[in-house]
Amino acid sequence: MKQKVYPSLDAAVADVPDGARIMFGGFGGAGFPNNLIQALARKGTKNITAISNNCGTREGELGLMFKNNQVKHVIASFPGPHANHFQDRYAAKEVTLELVPQGILCERMRAAAAGLTGFYTTVGVGTEVAGGKEERVIGGDRCILEMPIHADYAFIKAQKADELGNLTYRLAARNFNPIMAMAAKTTIVEAEEIVPVGSIDPENVITPAIFVHRIVQAKGLRYAG
């Protein structure tokens, strides 16, 4: 049977090329694929377009990618005041940024996942985020057209993965991970625990295996800085 379990973090990211578009899960210190991010730092992939809610906490989480200057463009909702490596690169114009409202970030990724080619929303109308976007009135409401966000890879942090790729998450570490897992062409998962197929109740699977392409076991790594 086709194998999704990879022997190491480095093997799981070995083919991620320069210029890749990568979604990174995580929010508020929880659910970040920190082990995969460190592996990508070792691999040294450059010119990444990073899609993430924020831009790291000092050298933790996505911070490492900016410290190493591996990212050229970011699509994010809240880069964050503690994302100093990002802020430095941004100030130096070494990285560009598209700011997106958080729920719209989710929906644009979900649209990519669901094969939808655009959607209208009232969110952001009349604000800076409406700049350059088509506007029209629907049912009396001003709306703007938002486009899907696709990615080559999603880096996901799960609690449990079975060997087929069914995933569960721990508490609020779920956050962006299930959406990104659905939206990327290749979804790479670091899981606290790899469990035998059949040990996750089919009713409690959060991310079905169809969305998961690579799994690697890695003990949780939390940036506590």
Partner: protein, 234 residues
């Protein structure tokens, strides 16, 4: 591929593949680890004929991934039915989800293969499979349009001709369409045909049939290599 009709037996007289044989042949298009949706009719028979040693994850648009065979009589659970309302079993590693996620999978390009039945397929790969013109009643679409639009590979299984002998593979569909340019492979009781940018490529013919004979039963030109293989059954 014009043939000399006078030298040939009437097309109807030669044996064609049974519905089960069409399913058996189509099953060989599935590869290990594939995520697959099977539609009504002949496609639904495919699960019985999977090549040995491979695992295929069957998807149902009502919210199941990892369906196994039908439940045995007396062991049915009517909350665990497939899209045909048939009580099914699960294989280990199955999952349940709601119908919006089930169709996120169909539309979003997550299914490796979908197999649908067909009334007509055009030379561009347009599919008509949901409504017979003039039929009584409301008709119904179901999941076919989402599946046709989104599957990475769409296989259509059907008889090569109607009961009246009219071709079902045509230049342009006359039945109401399910989707445009969506079909990749056609498996019929006479042939396996790939829909390619250059046209309909005849890959295999039914045992005893020639490329010319299949062409005669087809309403659009077929591209054939010098020697087209016969469909085999192991």
């Amino acid at each position: 591929m014009p043939g000399d009709a006078s030298q040939e037996k009437p097309v109807a007289a030669k044996p064609r593949l049974t519905r089960e044989q069409i399913a058996q042949r189509a099953a060989r298009e599935l590869t290990d680890g594939a995520y697959v949706n099977l539609g009504w009719g002949i496609p639904n028979l495919i699960a019985e004929y999977l090549p040995k040693g491979i695992t295929v994850h069957f998807h149902s648009e009502n919210g199941i991934l990892g369906m196994g065979p039908r439940a045995k009589p007396g062991q049915e659970d009517f909350d665990q039915v497939d899209a045909m309302k048939v009580p099914v079993t699960l294989i280990p590693g199955a999952s349940f989800f709601h119908q919006a996620d089930a169709h996120l999978m169909t539309r979003g390009g997550h299914l490796d293969v979908a197999v649908l039945g067909g009334f007509q397929v055009s030379e561009k790969g347009d599919l008509a499979n949901w409504k017979i013109p003039g039929a009584k009643g409301s008709g119904g679409i179901g999941g076919a349009m989402d599946i046709a639009a989104g599957a990475k590979t769409l296989i259509v299984c059907m008889e090569h001709t109607t009961k009246d002998g009219a071709p079902k593979i045509v230049k342009q569909c006359t039945y109401p369409l399910t989707g445009l340019a969506c079909v990749d492979v056609i498996v019929t009781d006479l042939a396996v045909i790939d829909v390619k940018p250059e046209g309909l490529v005849l890959r295999e013919v039914a045992p005893g049939w020639t490329a010319e004979e299949v062409q005669k039963a087809t309403g659009a030109p077929l591209i054939a290599k010098s020697r087209v293989a016969e469909i085999t059954f192991v």
